[in-house]
Structures are given as structure tokens and as C-alpha cells.
Amino acid sequence: MVILTAWMLKYTVLGRSIYALGGSQIASVRVGFNIFKTRLFVYSFMGFVSGFAAVVHTALVQSAIPNSIVGRELDVIAAVVLGGANIMGGSGSLLGTCLGVALLAMLGNGLTLIGMSSYWNNVMVGLVLLVGVTISAVQRNLQVRHRVTKLNA
């Protein structure tokens, strides 16, 4: 499934149109992408994938509970942002996202093993999220400044 998504994002018109829409909506309309169709695909795809996640979860805990994974949104977003994806859209890769997930899982597990109370888990997730976003923002600023000085020179 991951490989399929990576292929879709990288080598099909649909995938590239998702990136384009994230980069600049107005520009992608001018180029001629159909925003409505792209959005329709993106959100249907989300529904499809979360349906799969639901089955996996049900299989793992062997029961279907209405509020079992409520509150995991933050973990999910943290993993995406940690993986180098831009929150405003337009950039990010699947490999980075996989690494982000692995990092978060390892962190949560390791903290429990060290003997920290599980209440601190969320604090650590927030901390990691903050640090990751800060680093990526600073890097982007530096890159832009570098490009500007290059242009001026």
C-alpha cells in the first residue's frame, strides 16, 4: 500500500496534481488541473486508507470500540510533520513519513521502558513536534535567504 501510494504520488498526473495544488492553488488552476476532482480523490483516498486502518486496528485489539483511537490525531500529524512534509502542502515524501512514524513509535515505547509515566508521552510528542517544525522552518528561511543573496550577487 505504501509502495502503491509512493508510485501514485511520484509518477502519475494525479499525484503530481496533488503536489501542485499544495504548492499553489491559483497556479495549478491556471495550469489546468481540476481542483474539484483532485480534492475528491484526496479525501476519498483518505477514507479508503482509514477504512483499512480500522480493519487493522480491529484485528489487533480483536474488538471494535467506538472511541479506541480518539486522540491519536496528534501522533499522526506529528509523524507527518516530522517526516519533512510541509504543513501548508506542496512538499514531503513517503520515505520521510515512514521514518517519522518509526521515530515516534520508538520514542513512545522507549520512554515507557525507561520508566517515565505514560502521561508524559504526549508531552514528549508535542516537544518533538515543536522541535521538528522549528528546524524545518529555520532551514527553509536559510534556503530562501541563500537564494536571494545568490540572485543579488
Binding site: 495544488l21 499544495g22 481542483i35 479525501y43 483499512f52 480500522a54 480518539v70
Partner: protein
């Protein structure tokens, strides 16, 4: 190779952080971190959050965000369980669930201003 590393600098940094965290965990609890049991429990937690992250990433790439993944997943789990209970031969039940999720995701763009 050099160009690849330069281009994917954030990926390289992320891998380094990953190994750093692993090293710190190993130092702090050497007798428990690398045991098969722990690795197994980590492998148990990974898939669901990984799949949800896959969904969230595609939405973030196109510039939006969808906090309802969790809700969709929960709803789908319940309905899939009901369907499986009602129709006992359970083969193909993951496709039922995926179709349900798809139908839950479909109306969303209509709500967004396009």
C-alpha cells in the same frame, strides 16, 4: 551519491535522529530495549498509526488537513464488525471496510468550498 545526499538532506538528518534515539534508549535501558518482546510490541503498535499517517500525509500534501481520519476509522471499524457479525463468512471483509471508508470520505469535498 553526493548529489542525492545533498538533495535529501532532511531525510538524512531524520535517519540520524532515529539512530540517535535508538542509541539513547539502548544506553538507558540496555537489558530491555532490544529484546524480541519489545520489538514485537513495537511492531504491534506501528501498523495502525502508520496507515493513518499515510492517509493524513496525502491530505497535507495537497494543502488541507483532515482531523476526521480517526472518526472515519472508528465508524468503519464498528460498521465492519456489525457486517461481519451479520454475514458470517468473513472473507473479503477488509474490502467491505475499505469501501465503507471510501463512502465516508467521498462527500467531504462537497462541503469544502471549491
Amino acid at each position: 551519491m553526493r548529489r542525492f545526499l545533498n538533495y535529501h538532506r532532511d531525510l538524512v538528518a531524520l535517519t540520524a535522529v532515529l539512530f540517535g534515539v535508538a542509541a539513547v534508549m539502548l544506553l538507558l535501558s540496555p537489558e530491555r530495549f532490544l529484546t524480541p518482546n519489545n520489538l514485537r510490541s513495537m511492531a504491534f503498535q506501528l501498523p495502525e498509526i502508520g496507515i493513518l499517517t499515510l492517509a493524513m500525509m496525502v491530505a497535507m500534501l495537497h494543502g488541507g488537513i483532515n482531523l476526521a481520519v480517526i472518526g472515519t476509522a472508528n465508524l468503519t471499524a464498528i460498521i465492519a464488525a456489525l457486517v461481519v457479525h451479520a454475514v458470517m463468512p468473513a472473507s473479503g471483509n477488509e474490502w467491505v471496510a475499505a469501501a465503507l471508508g471510501l463512502s465516508a470520505g467521498l462527500p467531504r469535498p462537497y462541503w469544502l468550498a471549491c
